[in-house]
Symmetry: D2
Subunit: 317 residues, 4 copies
């Protein structure tokens, strides 16, 4: 087992690669289980047997197995990028428009919005992410471009882009998101036109990235807000801790408690089958497997992360 | 700032005492703010200006300020002790009777019980704690004595006991707890007589302990399940991580998200004004101040923990 | 078709008997359908093929078919008798403790009690009936006896009594009712001891009456509050209209709208399989058939009332 | 007091006029109380002291007081006209897409839609009315024109029309209605484009009519589905009873129970301050006064109807 020295990682990358290899072997019976998201054709036709796992340390070392270099639709994982951007823009004022409590409801529920006057529970459920996107829509002349530029920058990869077919499908099937948007607008909590905000939102969800790219892109959350490759500060140290706290308490739809119990790392999942997990002070792990649990989280992905924490002792608890 | 070496604490106790002294100075304007719990006379008449803070490391070093040696009613903090006991007894079967998700509702809400067939969201809200107490009531001939013996043992203090006046008042004003108990019994999820289970529950809430005693008693949660003083294993390493995860996601009533955002330590609060926080691998902090926020957590206590994490960098994120 | 002359009924009793005979023939395929209430043994063992139908006019004429003279457990139909008694005692003050709106929820739901501070939606759902029984418990030294005496009086039948086996079973399985009682007590809306109030409640539900006795007993609701046999005023004219209005909007559990749509008469059902319907100014109809719909109303009973209104044109709309 | 002879009204119109005159005197202290709907400018600037009351019998006799000939925005009263149209088109299939139970929630709540899979509780709340309008949008090439033509026909008045300023304002402030529409579309329960359906809906709400015109237009609901002036059948007798039943159980927002208790007539209100009430077999009463109660019903209008029923005994219970 590794010891836990924040800012001073002591494991060696060969050991890490061996661990991933072991996980890849043990995870085989879980691959293909669960249900691939089927609400849009572009997600439905993904090969359910895909599985990728990639680790990137703050020292820039990497280990990967499986389809870790194949891009997939990041979906709700994008909410962490846009939250980072919005926290820099709106600061504390952000928390007047969105809460920071777990929802206790499905990610796309409208019930709490009604009893809580259009203030979503947190920025990592759909309604909360709309507020975040609304803030970016107000702040940038070209918000879609601003988002993809930010992600290219933190991932240090210029080829990351929208999957326009996915974005189009999202828009065509996005009636519940439109319902949420208009509902919050009826409370005055969406400032721009609902259709404009949702166009940005549907695009951010449709960004395609690989496990390797995501593990690299989120290193700032494992490194006190700083990009390890360049030393550039992306976000304040305190805000890094806060985003990690939000991921732990709100990042896994309606199974944050179960996920914290089993894995114990700040994480964010997407219905494309990806999950990103942060080991503060050390590394980022990204897993991808399209089969989802009832709660919308990758089944084999969750299992792989559970194995990773068991084998490395890297849980935060 | 301290570095974070799990199992190898490197700070010195004099520094820790200085930090507590600084916190005690800074916290003064916050003491007495908020509302003392007033639903029973014995809690209502507590001096609202009380404030105690105590730290105990896994090496057995201690630092304290204020009223850290004065006993108060531990109330919901007792739920962590009983959960520990029940996890040893019921193992995985426990999770068929209680969930492990944040509730998204007030700690004493009955709404979710109805839509989720009498299965409480987690063992740290009232309804979930009733299930835990029901398990102990089935397991022990004298469950009240078993609970207080367990606490005396982990706290290494034989004088810890029930405040019988508080227990009596709890019972007399406990109509909502009775409602919850009978409601879960109507779903078959309470196995013993409701009045018997609640008598145990009201007693466990009425145990009186000081900050120093609580910090000592919970060291096993900072030390992989082992009592540092004797090396005795209280609970498995994995279950320790899980209890800490449950405390982080479910331990602070309806402000777990906000508390994780501001403090970022696995914690449990009680309406008596106490809060216990775990720094895994290092120490336990216990604070007491009777003035409560709207969500039922100690106001000055939360602030003190926020200062502690700021000054020491000991947050888990 | 009969014409509708309030206070001046113009049909002849032979015609009415022919109509009931026709209904009895047509209803045969419906008898035995649905699910007999099975939460207590005494109800569960009722022969599901029982069917009785009785009409009593304000002129004292009667017509009956089937098992109309056999007694069954009146269950929630008792709520109309106790409401009548409580309206005389508490007058307008009653409506501070219970609402008069349809609940939009199952008859034994606790959800609305929580969001509406322990004030039940109306006096014909369980929670509301507890408030009514609490009022009678405060008003009478022997509330159980007072209730049965009232019913004997309006039914002009001294042999009506509690089925003590049913009452005992109700108490033993009444955990959800206890939950409701303690929940409302926690809001201060039950004044007596919960167990005392519920003992009365379980007894009133366990009164056994026949269709003929119920049709006779409720004539005051068809006759402006006056017992037609003696001219004695039971309740004010306005209160009679109000009870009828409450029955129409709140009397059929969660299918008041559907029942008003299909039958269109102020009615109250019980899980024993009975339904009482009022034709203001003319008559009372009582039907009994133990097989229940999902909503807890007698299936064949509802169908029989639908046929009655089709054949006589006696709907109020 | 009048006697109640369905199909054979025996009062004289002079008496009726005297009663309205008396009501007009007694109602004066209530006029101007409550809150005029202020969500759109065109409603907000209505003179709050307006009051009109008109009665029209199935024999074509009329009596009126106050501003009974002044047109106002009929708003939700339009839902009864469109329901009549849709019942003729969709027959029983209609009830697969919308329920017929009181909602127990505010007229524009989204909560029940979520738990009941996009099936609104009844056709007289907003969400249900959207379904009805969707049916008309599918059935007619020019649904707006079809609706206004239907109303002109039953009211026998060719000048009835949309208030286009109101329709435009409704659209501009209609975010919650859009939210409901997209929410139901996400469940597949809106077949046309949401914006198209809501354009029709906002126009039907914006129709302007006077009390006299509304009392005349709804005579078919007091006359077994037949226009008394021409003998033309608008809708089947059974459907007439059913619409009246729906009005009684669902027509007054979240105070149907209270309204049935106080007034006891099938009625529909609108936020423009109008209320239409049916006395089956006899007459229609329409009242208008813009000041609304918390539940969105005209305050003075409800009081006037209560007085009318007290003075005439025309309640249905």
């Amino acid at each position: 087992m590794f010891s836990k020295n924040k800012g001073h990682t002591d494991y060696d990358i060969m050991t890490l690669q061996h661990i991933l290899d072991d996980i890849y072997t043990e995870i085989q019976p879980h691959i293909g289980k669960g249900k691939v998201a089927d609400y849009i054709p572009a997600l439905k036709r993904i090969d359910p047997t895909k599985f990728g796992l990639s680790v990137c340390t703050i020292n820039g070392e990497r280990a990967s197995v499986g389809d870790a270099s194949e891009r997939f639709s990041i979906q709700s994982i994008s909410k962490v990028f846009t939250l980072t951007m919005a926290m820099k823009i709106a600061q504390e004022a952000l928390w007047k428009r969105v809460g920071r409590e777990p929802s206790g409801n499905r990610f796309n529920s409208l019930v709490q919005l009604e009893s809580e006057n259009g203030i979503p529970r947190n920025p990592l459920i759909n309604a909360g992410a709309h507020i975040i996107t609304d803030i970016l829509t107000s702040a940038y002349e070209h918000p879609k471009e601003a988002i993809v530029q930010f992600i290219r920058h933190v991932a240090d990869t210029t080829t990351i882009d929208f999957d326009l077919e996915v974005a189009k499908s999202e828009r065509e099937t996005g009636n519940r998101n439109l319902a949420m948007g208009y509902f919050m607008k009826s409370f005055g909590n969406i400032h721009n036109q609902v259709r404009v905000v949702l166009d940005v939102y549907f695009h951010q969800c449709a960004i395609a990235m690989s496990c390797e790219e995501l593990a690299q892109a989120f290193l700032y959350l494992a490194h006190d807000g700083i990009l390890p490759s360049t030393g550039e500060r992306v976000i304040a140290k305190e805000d890094t801790d806060r985003i990690n706290a939000l991921m732990l308490t709100c990042g896994m739809y309606d199974s944050v408690g179960d996920f914290a119990y089993r894995v114990g790392l700040p994480s964010k999942s997407g219905v494309g089958g990806g999950i990103v997990s942060i080991v503060p002070g050390e590394m980022v792990i990204c897993v991808w497997s399209p089969g989802l649990s009832e709660n919308g989280n990758s089944l084999a992905g969750t299992k792989a992360l559970e194995l990773f924490v068991q084998k490395t002792g890297k849980g935060i608890f």
